[in-house]
Amino acid sequence: MEENINRRIRKVLIEKMLSEVDPAEIKDDTPLIELGVGADSVATLELLVALESEFKISIDEEDINQNLLENIDSIAEYIGKRL
């Protein structure tokens, strides 16, 4: 289950934000800030709507902070609680 969530998050990240990054570099514990994720509010909101669409859940932007967006594992933990 958790592995499946991580795989789907990775897919969203690659499709929406990290198409220029080698997928092999995006591991579950890779610090996403180094890849630009969460650096600006525009890109962050785009990620949220893509995750909402993928998992059919509502995400409140007030829940989003640097810790939550630290890596794929931390995003998966948040989403797992809402499924």
């Binding site: 220029e20 610090p31 180094e34 630009g36 525009v42 909402e52 509502s58 932007e61 007030e62």
Partner: protein
């Protein structure tokens, strides 16, 4: 109505019990709003603010922003609204340029306001938050309600961002703002029954025009301090919002936001898109979810609202910013200076009582774009036989981040201050959703990571200016004249 305070006084008389502002749980009538404005005016006078003095307003969209704006203008002083996303260095520029006597701010921004105002002579007053220097009817100053203000008095300083030099001060007079409100309201036909949702920052020229127009007609203004999709959706449905000024990025993410249950957005009668071009995809996607097509509006800091697309055939000409609003003249000028024919491309020039006559204290910059009573926008466009304008290009090379203008040179200057940066080029690129984002290409000295650059920029420039894409190269490609080959870096 001759000066801006007349707009509020008129609505307070005509719609005294009507709701003027809704900010969270606070619902303020027009009668109370006028009283709050007069009270804050008295506080400002007690702090030494007088006619012609500048008052900086460092506040997000809020009831306090609105009371500050009107109270400053009430006493003949000049509002200088500042973006709350700005950091100390950026704020110092605007404070130094406008020399405010006082900065009105909120509790959370007080430390930064104080640091930014250090050694400038400006004091800081907190008027929003748990611990404030001012609270309504509780500051022991007697109230005066009549001040001498004339139409030619300066009312507000806005700043125009370009690709070269520092932001230029645009000093709008009371006459300019009254004309702006008249031009806009005569065109869009709003009434006291309208409910207008403000998520776009009130300090931007786009929101400012809609904001004072809303006050002029006695409409109810809903203010949100930041863009939160679910709050916007709840407000549109729960409060039956009729007017929603937005930027394309907001419309895009709202259209894509997952809604677990059907929602009723049938109250919306005008959704406005401005700040950057509206794509066909967003135009249709928004309509699919909200049942209404967004209408493009065109304006500038120098002129206020120029045109809006209120066409009945908006599906056919969604890409047009529409016809000029009432009392605004637009001409499309060719390279030889003559007006071009219908459908031909040229520079858009504007003439209106709502526009300023030049940049403050910048005669050379003024002469280059204010000529023969017109403001030359630098935008390239066409006008068809029906008078509908289309923007086809912009000459000013700033980056547009969901309505916020970013000067790439400013970001380059910031990044090049890092000891491990040998060379840097900053420009705008489209992300996978078609939105413009800031990209930096850096030639490093030794080992350097993107994380180090993010940490170096954070807190020094506004977050929306920090590049979301960073790439490293060994050299920057250049053309034969030495110009950076941006296309090879995108």
């Amino acid at each position: 109505m001759k000066v801006v305070p007349d707009l509020l006084r008129h609505s307070a008389k005509a719609y005294s019990e009507g709701i003027a502002v809704v900010d969270g749980q606070k619902r303020i009538t027009y009668g109370t709003l006028l009283s709050m404005v007069q009270d804050l005016s008295s506080f400002l006078v007690s702090k030494g603010v007088g006619h012609g003095d500048r008052v900086a307003i460092l506040l997000p969209n809020s009831l306090e922003f609105i009371t500050s704006f009107f109270s400053v203008l009430e006493i003949g002083a000049i509002s200088v609204p500042l973006n709350t996303a700005y950091r100390e260095t950026e704020l110092k520029y605007y404070i130094s340029n406008s020399s405010p006597r006082i900065i009105l701010t909120e509790e959370a921004l007080k430390p930064m306001a104080e640091k930014s105002a250090d050694k400038t002579g400006a004091s800081v007053a907190v008027i929003r938050g748990a611990i404030t220097d001012y609270s309504y009817c509780n500051h022991g100053v007697s109230r005066k309600t009549k001040y001498a203000v004339i139409p030619d008095d300066e009312a507000i300083y806005l700043y125009s961002t370009g690709s070269t030099g520092n932001p230029k001060c645009v000093a709008r007079t009371h006459l300019n703002l009254i004309a702006l409100a008249e031009n806009h309201t005569q065109t869009v036909g709003w009434t006291e029954d309208d409910r207008i949702l403000f998520v776009v920052p009130l300090l931007h020229t786009y929101a400012l025009g809609n904001f004072i127009s809303g006050i002029k007609v006695g409409a109810t203004l809903y203010v949100l301090s930041s863009f939160n999709r679910n709050r916007v959706i709840d407000l549109i449905e729960g409060e039956a919002i009729t007017i929603f000024p937005a930027v394309p990025f907001m419309l895009d993410v709202l259209a894509k936001t997952y809604l677990p249950k059907p929602r009723d957005f049938s109250s919306l009668k005008l959704v406005i898109s401005a700040g950057s071009p509206l794509s066909k995809e967003v135009f249709y996607r928004y309509h699919e979810k909200f049942g209404i097509y967004p209408r493009q509006l065109y304006g500038s800091t120098e002129t206020g609202v120029i045109a809006i697309n209120l066409s009945k055939d908006v599906e056919v000409n969604f890409d047009s910013v529409g016809r000029p609003v009432k009392n605004v003249e637009v001409k499309i000028v060719g390279t030889d200076g003559s007006v071009v024919g219908a459908g031909e491309e040229g520079e858009i020039a504007v003439k209106s009582r709502s526009m300023v006559s030049g940049y403050k204290n910048l005669p050379r910059e003024t002469m280059s774009v204010f000529r023969d009573g017109y403001y030359y926008t630098g935008d390239l466009g066409t006008m068809d036989r029906e008078g509908c304008i289309r923007i086809v290009g912009r000459q000013k090379m700033f980056i547009n981040i969901s309505g916020n203008k970013v000067n790439p040179r400013e970001v380059e200057n910031q990044i090049s201050g890092h000891s491990k940066v040998k060379e840097v080029v900053v420009f705008g690129v489209s992300d996978s959703e078609g939105n413009e984002v800031v990209k930096a290409v850096i030639v490093p000295k030794g080992d350097l990571t993107a994380k180090e650059i993010y940490e170096f920029c954070r807190g020094k420039i506004a977050n929306f200016k920090i590049p979301s894409k960073i790439a490293f190269r060994q050299t920057i490609p250049r053309g034969p004249t030495g110009k950076v080959a941006i296309e090879l870096l995108k």
